[in-house]
């Protein structure tokens, strides 16, 4: 059996990890050997797909030319292709469920159907198809990294993480994405739970742990009890539309407050402002104030953002996360004082205000010894090794985040499985007919916490039958609702009299049907083989371009740190790579990228030393003054 890999399919960044010598490690990939793959997918008008850093460069934005002119670059959407970011915010949702701010961002083919579809040129893409491209890029990248390390290993079986608060449809859409990427999704794992595995593996922890997971697009809080290798989730809560993206949006609105609305909606302007906002937000983790500049054609926006002002903007979102924490702790039948450790997950937890508030809420300093960007992927790798039977007694007992029920008379939601029930779990419910000779019973499955069916999310509808014509109330059909370890619902029905299994054709209210997935897979196979070769070549070329660009920049700035002999060797490899890059021999490109990496490693180390020295000198000057 092949090894199982762990994937964190994030709103902002995605990572792949695996166990190496008993410890989980993320797999760095690409020419720049980075672990984080930006979850950004560019689709050119001809259908060519690019994922990651290079896709960001294709995003519509404004750029300052050498002569000072500001011009628009990148794909703007519609017939010009598009760059999709934060696709996770659209996973498993119907058009009517998309938040207004997410609706304005792209062009959609259909906002009334059970699945949103992006319109890009003449082609239409579902969020699962776009996510599949991110998964493919991770798979390709990891396989190449493994090959470079001398291991000829395929990535075929994976664990993918999802926000704990994802509903059934969002989970199904994630599984579909895996299938479309040609992967076997052995298990979906909730992100905060995965993080607790990474944390627990390192510390042999015991006690009650709160995992506060505030990422780019989603927020989760999970409360776990860890006892002798059993990681038991007691309660979970969250919001699948609450994250750092929302804070960025408020900063953008502030940045663009004075410019005309028509210009504000321009995707080039908006994205440039978003990039500036995100950079400023990150800088304010370390400094108290920062200038923010957005260059527009013939005009530039120059403002100052202080940490205090940022915190006031972030406050309402943070308040929502803390409210969710209170609910989760209460659902776990604990008080904040019963929590022994708080683990922080997600880039948004880098904000000092977030750390302060979380510390105040739980009366203890949160742990951040594991990189909050990597901890989920590392945990996914731990779960993968549990699934391979390599973690002894370690076992995860997770819960279903939302109650599951059916619509009964008068449009009332009758709860069959309550939220925070440990999964897998099942419940059997008896159904009968209401009128004589009725041959079908309609069942409407719902998910949510509200009293009325119309306020809950419709999960699926199905017809029980055909039932033999009999007087009303005589037929007895037992329907079993089973939620598996992935948090996904399975339904089957049995005639209690005959013991015969009924086939249940569940029609999901949202999401793709099996037939649609099959069709997409067929299309993918048709385009497939040549696609794959081409895609690999493109991604190898991109790597080459990236490392060449980086080296050029470094030589410009730190050229003095290289002696002539070293420079000559570099130039020689650069020349060969430049030539190979135009050709189609991707193995050669990969080999030369590796070679250039090796040749330039000592140089990169010297740059790092110089930077550290510079920083230390500056600090000692500050100390003196």
């Amino acid at each position: 059996m092949s090894r199982i890999f762990g994937i964190d399919l994030g709103t902002t960044n995605s990572l792949i990890a695996a166990m190496e010598d008993g410890a989980p490690r993320v797999i760095a990939m690409g020419g720049n050997h980075r672990a984080l793959l930006p979850s950004v997918v560019a689709i050119a008008p001809d259908g060519a797909i690019t994922v990651g850093e290079r896709a960001i460069e294709m995003e519509p934005h404004l750029t300052v030319e050498r002569d000072g002119r500001v011009s628009a670059v990148g794909f703007a959407g519609g017939e010009y292709g598009a760059v999709i970011r934060s696709v996770k915010r659209y996973m498993g949702l119907g058009g009517d469920e998309i938040a207004p701010e997410d609706r304005a961002r792209y062009t959609f083919a259909d906002l009334s159907g059970p699945v949103v579809r992006f319109q890009i040129g003449k082609r239409v893409f579902t969020p699962s198809q776009i996510s599949a491209e991110i998964l493919r890029a991770l798979k390709d990248g990891a396989e190449r990294a493994l090959r470079a390390a001398g291991k000829d290993e395929k990535v075929e079986r994976v664990v993918i993480t999802v926000p704990a608060y994802f509903n059934d449809g969002q989970r199904q859409a994630t599984k579909d994405a895996g299938r479309l990427a040609g992967l076997e999704v052995v298990r979906l794992v909730n992100e905060p739970t995965a993080a607790s595995l990474a944390y627990g593996l390192n510390t042999q922890a015991a006690g009650n742990v709160a995992v506060f997971d505030f990422g780019g697009g989603t927020f989760d809080i999970s409360i776990l009890s860890i006892k002798q290798g059993i990681f038991e989730v007691l309660a979970t809560n969250g919001d699948t539309h609450l994250g750092g993206d929302d804070i960025d949006r408020v900063i953008v609105e502030w940045l663009l407050a004075e410019i005309p609305d028509a210009l504000k909606l321009d995707r080039h302007v908006w994205n440039s402002a978003r990039m500036a906002a995100e950079d400023a937000k990150k800088r304010l983790t370390d400094v108290a104030e920062t200038p923010v500049v957005v260059e527009l054609p013939g005009h530039s926006i120059r403002k100052h953002l202080t940490r205090g002002a940022l915190e006031r903007m972030a406050e309402p979102f943070l308040a929502r996360t803390l409210k969710r924490c209170e609910l989760a702790v209460a659902d776990a039948k604990l008080t904040p004082a019963d929590i022994d450790a708080v683990v922080l997950v997600g880039g948004s937890t880098r904000m000092p205000l977030v750390r302060q508030r979380v510390a105040a809420m739980f009366h203890r300093e949160p742990l951040c010894s594991i990189d909050p960007d990597q901890i989920v992927a590392l945990g996914a790798a731990v779960q993968a090794s549990v699934l391979m039977g390599m973690q002894g007694d370690m076992l995860l007992l997770d819960v279903v985040p939302l109650s599951l029920g059916i619509e009964t008379m008068g449009g009332v939601m009758e709860r069959l499985i309550h939220r925070n029930t440990t999964i897998p779990t099942s419940v059997a419910e008896g159904f009968t007919t209401a009128v004589d000779n009725q041959t079908h019973v309609d069942i409407h499955v719902l998910q949510g916490e509200r009293e009325l069916a119309k306020d809950c999310r419709s999960l699926a509808r199905f017809k029980l039958g055909p039932i033999q014509p009999q007087p009303a109330g005589v037929p007895r059909i037992e329907v079993t609702f089973l939620i598996d370890a992935n948090g996904i619902l399975n339904v089957n029905a049995r005639d209690e009299r005959t013991g015969r299994e009924h086939s249940v054709d569940v029609k999901p209210s949202y999401g793709l049907t099996d037939d649609e997935i099959e069709r997409m897979l067929e299309e993918a196979v048709d385009l497939g083989e040549q696609d794959l070769e081409e895609r690999l070549l493109i991604s190898y070329r991109n790597d080459a371009e990236q490392i060449l660009g980086a080296l050029r920049k470094q030589l410009g700035e730190f050229g003095a740190l290289v002696d002539n002999r070293e420079r000559a060797r570099m130039d020689e490899v650069v020349e060969r790579l430049e030539a190979a890059r135009i050709g189609t021999d991707r193995e050669l490109i990969a080999k030369l990228v590796e070679e250039l990496n090796e040749v330039t490693t000592p140089f990169a180390e010297r740059i790092m030393d110089a930077a550290i020295k510079l920083a230390l000198e500056k600090k000692s000057v500050e100390d003196l003054s």
Binding site: L395, P424, T425, S426
Partner: protein, 213 residues
Amino acid sequence: MIECPSCGRPQQPLLICPDCGSPLAAPLDCFAALGMSRTLTIDLGALERRYHELSRKLHPDRFASSAARVRDASLRATATLTRSYRTIRDPVARGLYWLELIGEKLSENNKRVPPELAELVFEVQEQLAGMHDAPADSDAARELAAQVAQRRAQLQATMDASLADLERNFLKWDQRSDEKMLTLELKAILSSIAYLRTLIRDVDRALENSKAA
């Protein structure tokens, strides 16, 4: 008898095949699923250890690379185990399940408020109605909210007393006292608890709303 999905031998209804250790998806009552005798007083620590031990043997994560039949049996066996554990762990769920086992149930058409709670229920409902009608953000509304908050404490104390009654009733069952009398008593306690739960939920909602307003 059921057939083990792994070794194929016929087995008694159990959750784990005694011959090969594979999970068996047998329909079992909650006590049998946990391998416990039918008693109502429970050592919660021992129960949890038993649940964890069985989870380690049955959970689908242990069979990720097994045949589909075995994976399916593991899924069903774990679902049965989990449901059983939740039922037995919670004293109210355990009491209700006990009634089911002995062929009784809290009658659904018995809408009569338990007599000892009648006065309390009436008063709380009056107060909630008053709170609902009082103009938002008025002194009257704040006064009523403060009274309801006091009620909340009283309701909780009554609930705690009922839960203690329940534990005493359980103990008597295990000492094999008069079953008929105990059944009546169990029903009365459980129906009080059901009423109190509804009341506490309503009070909490009203307080939450008044805080939000």
